[in-house]
């Protein structure tokens, strides 16, 4: 299985990532891209912090778990860190398989697990200069629990 795990400050190119997953035998490639929302209009940026070393280990485990559940030909997780402004991409998960159900299910699994099983933390920076750490959402835990 082709595997790509990347944690970086730099932006990535979803089109190029999808192209890289167009592997021989892959009939379906699914992807999820998460971006910085700004529902209130007050957000200046999100700051993404992570635990270098552990993050890579955690993402490797998540990818291995996905590969054990579905017949995947390729799997990609990209997560950005640092300061990201509204509209910018934060995270990308994608999977390629011979069949669409596996590709779609694995993509959903990767993002659900990433949200609860990888050491990333978000801090909101508001336009007035205030700042606040984002609290974990119970619904994310529930989405992960549904896979267990």
């Amino acid at each position: 299985m082709r595997k790509k795990i990347l944690i970086a400050e730099a932006d990535f190119d979803p089109g190029a990532e999808l192209e890289a997953l167009n592997l021989p035998g892959a009939g379906g490639i699914a992807s999820f891209t998460g971006t910085v929302r700004n529902d209130t209009g007050n957000l200046a940026a999100l700051h993404l912090e992570h635990y270098p070393g552990m993050t890579e280990r955690a993402l490797e485990k998540i990818v291995a778990e996905a590969a054990s559940r579905w017949p995947l030909l390729g799997c990609t997780i990209i997560h950005r860190v640092g300061r990201l402004t509204p509209g910018q991409r934060i995270v990308f998960t994608a999977a390629a398989s011979a069949h669409r159900q596996a590709a779609l299910a694995a993509t959903g699994f990767l993002i659900d697990w990433l949200k609860t099983c990888a050491p990333f933390w978000k801090r909101e920076e508001f336009k007035d200069g205030a700042s606040q750490w984002v609290e974990a959402r119970e619904s994310d835990e529930e989405e992960t629990a549904k896979w267990k």
Binding site: G34, L48, E49, H50, Y51, G53, M54, R57, A58, H79, I90, V91, I111, L114, K115, T116, C117, A118, P119, F120, W121, K122, R123, W133, V134, E135, A136, R137, D140
Partner: protein, 84 residues
Amino acid sequence: MTKILYFAWLREKLGAAEEDVELPKNLATVADLIAWQTTRGQNFAAAFGEKNQVRCAVDQDFASKTTPIAGAREIAFFPPVTGG
């Protein structure tokens, strides 16, 4: 010596990202270590107090309160994760 890491608001509250600590020999589990942390001053008491849901990793694997810490080289404390 054990390396202890802090992330997110724990890092900010404690004013430290990393420290090398000689842990008391009688600390067996993560729960023991958290209890000991609360005795290390006001900042620590506030950060590790019961009302805060501090999470832990032992040698870069998520740990629970009952995870043993004997022989651990790197222990990290952080809030519940919020990536993705």
